[in-house]
């Protein structure tokens, strides 16, 4: 069907995108790998020679490493748990017949469009501030002592902020998946007298499993890279230093490029493990 002529034309049309992405991937990646085997301190002597796997060992054995892994897992896991569970419930709720469905949908989706620095600062100041925040007023109203959210419950606070941002994404995708569910199947089960919980467990949830997997994988990739929310709230203090933030600090704040680059390689490997699973699903979808 396609002629030789159109094949070579196709190759030329693809070239710019392929070449650019290849460069964007290979050049920085090679540089990161290169730096990771060097002692490189731009502000204190510059390139101090090859050190083998020293940086890789030091990055993992530094006292900040394991806490940062733990923090990352708690934030990613916490946000995933909240957004998927609430997302399923919200998607089912929004799928019900109700008045003003379109407007409610818009209200629910809105947080996704708020830039990360805005949502983090609004939550930090106007809700979580221990003196003037709305939560403080609410706590006082009920006679409780206001909470210093970002220093007393820093991980919870960040999970709350990030979950608020990502709940719309989970909801929207799960809602799209629910709407593709054959309503006759549901009706039939309803007529057969299946209780709501059984309908949920045996029809809706299995139907959603693929969408849930996709939500989990895509969110994981984005959540591993959460940055601005920490940058403008705690700056990594109070035990909120994630792996991403730790690498950022090593590279730009303390300008220990070799060490930071080794950390970067770990982060790349970690993200790739998640990515492989996502690509499998996406790839399968391409075949069908």
């Amino acid at each position: 069907m396609a002629t030789q002529h159109s094949r070579s034309a196709a190759r030329i049309m693809m070239a710019p995108a392929v070449v650019l992405l290849l460069g964007w991937m290979l050049i920085p990646l090679t540089m990161t790998l290169y730096f990771s085997f060097k002692k490189f301190l731009p502000l204190r002597g510059g390139d101090l020679g090859w050190v083998g796997f020293d940086n890789y060992v030091r990055f993992v054995s530094s006292s900040a490493f394991w806490p940062s892994v733990q923090t990352t897992l708690i934030i990613v896991g916490g946000v995933l748990l909240i957004t998927v569970m609430l997302g399923v419930l919200l998607a089912i709720l929004l799928d019900q017949p109700l008045w003003g469905q379109g407007i409610v949908r818009i209200l629910v989706i809105a947080p996704f469009f708020v830039m990360p620095t805005v949502s983090a600062l609004v939550w930090k100041n106007m809700f979580m501030d221990p003196v003037n925040g709305l939560f403080a007023h609410l706590w006082k109203f009920f006679g409780a002592q206001p909470v210093e959210w970002l220093s007393d419950a820093p991980l919870f606070s960040i999970i709350l902020i990030v979950s608020w941002q990502w709940l719309p994404f989970a909801t929207l995708i799960l809602l799209t998946a629910i709407q593709s569910l054959d309503s006759e199947q549901l009706e039939a089960s309803e007529m057969d007298g299946a209780p709501p919980l059984a309908r949920f467990g045996f029809i809706i949830l299995p139907h959603l499993s693929r969408a849930i997997t996709i939500v989990v994988l895509i969110q994981t990739i984005f959540l591993l890279a959460v940055f601005a929310e920490i940058f403008v709230t705690t700056q990594g203090s109070f035990g909120t230093r994630t792996l991403t933030y730790l690498i950022f600090q090593r590279v730009l704040e303390s300008q220990n490029v070799g060490l930071g680059s080794a950390g970067g390689v770990y982060a790349i490997i970690l993200a790739n493990i998640v990515a492989i699973f996502l690509m499998r699903i996406v790839g399968k979808n391409l075949d069908s």
Binding site: A9, A10, M14, V18, L20, L21, W24, M25, I27, P28, L29, M31, L93, Q96, P97, W99, G100, V104, R105, L107, I109, A110, P111, F113, V114, M115, T117, V118, V122, W123, K124, N125, M126, L134, H137, L167, P168, F169, I173, S183, L186, I214, L224, A225, F227, A228, F231, T244, I247, F248, G260, G264, A267, I268, A271, A275, L278, M279, V282, G283
Partner: protein, 276 residues
């Protein structure tokens, strides 16, 4: 979809859904409301909800003190520019993959997607260094290029899924009638592809507008877009809730409006066609 429900059930659904919806939307609503208060009213105890002296002064103050328009303009240039350039590069690629697929098409698509998975922090220093060497640090052109590259995979993917939906028979017929490649693109493909391109444009402007890793790390004063401008409020002086709210409202308003138009494309664009 039209399941028969009693009105009482529907009313209950409506009540619950609206309560939840308003609760989720509340932080945005609160920000918008606070932007119309004076600084003193913004921290009033108890908090003022609707009954305060509405004022526009914060908007004026933000513009006056911080030259808000410059940051806005940077955001427009960077988000718009990176998206437009990305689409110009992606349209031919997606077109050829959709209509002249080869054995390697799938691999190329998946490989492109994999570049999107590269954690930014892993390549932070190389990019930072290259930017210094090339004199791109804190320039709009530098940031435009980076945002174009990080969104290019999504743009190619979205366009590919849209182009795939254009029936191939139409092209076959055109070729039979002797249409040249140029005519094929100009008269057949373009009209059918425009809606898909428009959706792609919309979603990617949103993504670029809100990007907050590279924009924070590669800009200082000159090329800083709104994400970085808002971040400067993280170490404020004096009372600032109302001003923060005004600046935030202005920063998110255009995207909220664009976003409401692109709800459907959001799913397609961010799941790479895996959920439709």
């Amino acid at each position: 979809m039209a399941r028969a429900v009693t009105n009482r059930r529907k009313a209950l659904n409506t009540l619950v859904a609206w309560s939840v919806g308003l609760l989720i939307f509340f932080p945005i609503l609160w920000t918008i409301l606070t932007s119309f208060k004076t600084e003193a009213q913004a921290i009033n105890d108890p908090p003022l909800f609707l009954f305060f002296d509405w004022t526009l002064e914060n908007y004026a103050v933000v513009q006056e003190r911080s030259d808000y328009m410059r940051f806005l303009w940077n955001s427009v240039i960077i988000a718009g520019g990176s998206t437009v350039i990305g689409i110009i590069i992606a349209v031919p690629a997606a077109w050829s993959m959709a209509f002249v697929p080869s054995k390697r098409t799938k691999d190329i698509l998946l490989w492109m997607l994999s570049t999107k998975m590269l954690p930014a922090v892993g390549v932070l220093y190389p990019i930072y260094l290259l930017f210094i060497e090339l004199g791109l640090l804190d320039t709009r052109i530098g940031l435009t290029i980076v945002l174009m590259l990080i969104n290019l995979p999504i743009i190619v993917w979205m366009l590919y899924t849209y182009f795939k939906e254009i029936p191939g028979e139409i092209l076959e017929a055109a070729r039979m009638d002797g249409a040249a490649l140029k005519e094929e693109i100009l008269y057949i493909l373009t009209p059918m592809a425009v809606p898909g391109i428009a959706s792609t444009l919309l979603l990617n402007i949103i993504l670029a507008w809100n990007e907050a890793f590279w924009t924070l790390n590669l800009t200082a004063a000159k090329a800083a877009p709104l994400t970085a401008f808002i971040a400067s409020y993280s170490s404020p002086e004096g009372l600032f809730y109302a001003k923060l709210s005004a600046a935030s409202t202005m920063a998110i308003a255009p995207i909220l409006i664009l976003g409401w138009f692109s709800q459907k494309q959001l799913v397609r664009g961010l799941t790479f066609g895996a959920v439709k």
